[in-house]
Symmetry: C2
Subunit: 244 residues, 2 copies
DNA sequence: ACAACAGACTGAGCCAGATCAGCATGCGCG
DNA sequence: CGCGCATGCTGATCTGGCTCAGTCTGTTGT
């Protein structure tokens, strides 16, 4: 049911609910105009009104908030198949910035179309809400990590979560994945300094847990890593669709 | 339009959208069985399946996650008018615990009723989604605070946010409010130790910014506090309904 | 009326992670 | 080619917030 000819978005939803061919094509019709964005140039910035929502087709982006002190906190990364800026469309005005980490392709989603699709194919509504809930659960998990995990646990957890998400859309395996993030970005996401991220990555490597070098994450010892990070695989990791 | 005879929930939504009398009564019909819970005894715990969603009528509760190390991170507090456990109902199984901070009254909400009400009164759907988005925005703001604000800023921000939320449901003014949280709970929410929360509160008091003693928060210098906390009032604070 | 307990509060010492400073590498570009 | 710049990496030093250990106060229960 989950086949490679569909978009990463359809592929991800297919992991939540077993979708029919008709539902898959309704999903693909959702994708509106395809747009490209260049790495580093903000797609949406704080306070902007009436911006669009997107589904990410290729590349990575990050959502972040700026603080008055000049620092920033990255709230979440989005990978292919993820929704972009859905919440702030509801609010009419964006409460955070969205910056492409790499060059990016995304298709615009008109909120009207989305609601339309929902009323015609209610199972899709459930699947999309499910995906949205998962995203929120990830933000919560991120919050917990920053509040109560030390730098090493936090970094391990972060990289494990990415691994699980990428696997879901076919961009990685249990052994590793390619990751375009700089240590500066990781620092802004993890609430650490870039210097310290560097040290922590070295420690993880020296411990034989994982290596992150030259844009590639390689997992050496999944079990010990899961233990260290107190990682709950259940909310990301499953083999068949949850909803038959 | 926002009058005191309605529930805190209706009152809160009334601040988002100007609602008609009929819409207000549809809201009040949403409230199902009224239940009571005692302070400190979990209403919902991690992993529980098919629990209910509630609208909080009186009292405070907190949502938290437990870590393997025995520590916990409080993700959010809910005050009267707030939804409880809406996201985890979608997931079927709760991903966090919910504990009443005080004795609590809450009315059960059946997801079916909710969706029913939505199709009959679409403006209510918008208002409820808006409220849900605001809650998510607060979690994001919480994340930013823990990641990039120091203890004093974080504490100030937290107490300001509570102030704005309580004002919205008529439980506080710009000058202060009563707050049943212990310093231990604040610590678990702010990612600090209780000892340090105590010191920070003393500092805020000595600086003439605010006092939190004997269950009462009193704000002495709102402007300096907003400046210190880098608090964005716009996303919580408004005078009339945003949607006429 | 006293014990038992929870919560507020304080001081001393310690450590994880920040900051500062500097070096090494690789890459785009005039 | 050589310059500028971004990113990775490392050591030295400083500090915010933690831990431990304890006192004081107010409340609950018997």
């Amino acid at each position: 049911m989950v086949s490679t000819q569909h978009s990463p978005f359809a592929r991800k939803l297919g992991a939540f609910a077993a979708l029919s061919g008709e539902e898959f094509s309704a999903l693909d019709r959702l994708h509106g105009r395809r747009k490209r964005f260049t790495a580093g140039r903000d797609m949406v910035h704080q306070g902007e009104v009436n911006h669009s929502a997107y589904i990410l087709a290729s590349g990575w982006v990050c959502s972040y908030k700026l603080l008055s002190g000049g620092t920033r906190q990255i709230v979440d990364f989005q990978i292919p198949g993820d929704f972009l800026g859905l919440r702030s469309v509801l609010f009419r005005t964006a409460d955070h910035n969205i910056e492409p980490v790499t060059n990016v392709e995304a298709s615009e989603v008109l909120v009207g179309d989305l609601l339309d699709t929902f009323s015609k194919t209610p199972r899709l509504a459930t699947a999309v809400l499910w995906a949205a809930s998962r995203d929120e659960a990830m933000v919560v998990e991120h919050l917990v990590g920053i509040g109560r995990r030390d730098a090493k646990e936090r970094t391990a957890h972060f990289l494990l979560e990415l691994s699980a998400r990428l696997k879901l859309v076919g961009l990685g395996t249990a052994l590793g994945y390619s990751c375009p993030l700089s240590q500066y970005m990781m620092a802004d996401a993890l609430g650490l300094s870039a210097v310290h991220v560097n040290r922590v990555l070295r420690e993880l490597r020296e411990d034989g847990l994982l290596t992150f070098q030259h844009g590639k994450v390689t997992i050496h010892d999944l079990d010990r890593l899961v233990l260290l990070a107190d990682f709950d695989k259940s909310y990301l990791d499953h083999d068949g669709p949850l909803l038959k």
